[in-house]
Amino acid sequence: MPRAKSSSGSKSKKIDGGGTKSTGRKSKDTSVVDVDEGSDNDEADGEVEQSETTEHLPVAPKSTQALRKVIIAPKDIRTHGWENIEECQIKHPKSGKKSLFLLDTGSSRCDGNLLFEVLSMQHDTRSWFVDNTVISDGNMYICTPVDPLFFVIPVMEKSSKAKSLIDHLIEGSLPKAVAEVLTKRLSHKQLEFVSIKKDFEDFVVFLYSEEKTLNWLSGKAERVGKFLMDKGISQAESSVSSNFVKSSVEALSKEDCLRYACDIVGEYIDETLKKKLLEKLGLPVLQEKAGTKRKSSLGDDDENINKKTKISGDDPVMPLEDYGSSNSNTPVNKNVKVTAKEKELQKAAQGSHSLFKFFAPKAK
């Protein structure tokens, strides 16, 4: 029974659920050491010294049922205390699906981040070795800060009335704990980036402002775009082999970067708002067309195709045809004549979320 699989092998299927079954036949004391080498019947047999291997973990689990995961998180969280961290399921502002977030309920700090998203980086055919411990789950769970205003927008957007923040949040069915923390810790100044504040004598209400929101989003998109430009990260990156990354960097235009930035910001807002953001930044809505083209018939697309080819024309790196990805494309509508250019565009559209494909929100 081979216990280790190479990444070149078939997709990993757990043989025995991560070793959980094996606990039953273990004696109680130190015998978690049914080491993987143990099944390697040629040389390693019998060489494993159990006493040596158990002393490193502060919490020495008796069974292999304990699940370990490798998390990458801001040091900031530890400084402020993990005990303040609560897991919560919040509707993702883009998809509306409940996703896992970490909420810092620590009341003492008004600065810093309140909310973190947990993204998983899938590594099906990897594992971890941490000191003398094997961790079967080779995924990486990454906690990164999220601007809480992204959660305020969809909630305020729904309401045509000016309300206090807590009312907005509760009616928008955010978990109570989240609503409370946001109310306590989001400054009025912050909220005014997406809304109009009305100050009455004893209370303050907010009314969503699309104009302000778009300004705020543009600022973010521009900062992200600049970052992508400086770092030379392009959308094409995921679809070209590493040998070509250098040359694709040279072809990066400011517009490409800004567009990619909008896609990234677009991961936190709904489609309608994203379209408006693109408009505001003076970017023709390409991605959208490329995506829907497969569904819609040609018609008015011709004009857009011309624009598209202009933009993709200055990206010399993209292969004209990519047979490798053809099966991941949804079947192309027969009525639509698929030119090489179009294929290329579809591919570009596909690659646009590359970063996020790896970091797909972990839905629970």
Binding site: A4, K5, S6, S7, I15, G18, G19, V32, D34, V35, D36, D40, A44, E49, T54, H56, P58, V59, P61, K62, S63, T64, A66, L67, R68, K69, V70, I71, I72, A73, P74, R78, G81, E83, I85, E87, H123, T125, S127, W128, F129, V130, D131, N132, T133, V134, I135, S136, G138, I142, T144, P145, D147, K220, V224, F227, K231, S242, L355, F358
Partner: protein
């Protein structure tokens, strides 16, 4: 939906570095290996794997090692300064422990690290590997999510 609490046990063990015998204060060695091990728990990793890492003759930044006779190429990399790696131990379902030290809704953070080694079978880890994208994402998310100032 139960609230799970995080308990930071990395600090308690490392704070005893003066004169304590606890070995945890040292930075743990972390390897991200390109194969799935269907086992979880203690193993003699140090002796059987970690200690065999040597720099490649051609490029001293690249480490070479082997697992079951197959060659591996690895590279050490540091997490961004503001980030750290943590090993979270979820005691859920471990009934013997539940009634002693911890509630079954507790997640214990047991190890901390800032450097890890990423291993591949057949090629030197490069910019196309996921972990490089990860580092990009960490920087990017800061820029994206930093509260606006004015």
């Amino acid at each position: 939906m139960s609230q799970r609490k995080y308990v930071d046990n990395t600090e308690s063990s490392s704070s005893e570095e003066n004169g304590s015998s606890k070995p945890v204060s040292k930075e743990v060695s972390v390897h991200h290996v390109p194969f799935k091990v269907e086992y979880e728990g203690q193993a003699n990793v140090e002796a059987k794997f970690s200690s065999n890492s040597v720099p490649a003759p051609s490029d001293s930044k690249v480490l070479i090692n082997q697992f079951r006779g197959r060659p591996l190429q690895g590279q050490k990399f540091d997490l961004p300064e503001s980030y750290e790696g943590l090993v979270a131990l979820d005691l859920k379902g471990s009934s013997q422990l539940a009634d002693e030290t911890s509630k079954d809704t507790e997640i214990s953070l047991v190890n901390r690290f800032e450097t890890m080694t990423y291993w591949n079978w057949d090629r030197v880890p490069s910019g196309m590997d996921k972990h490089v994208k990860l580092l990009d994402w960490m920087e990017l998310s800061k820029i994206l999510h930093e509260p606006a100032e004015d």
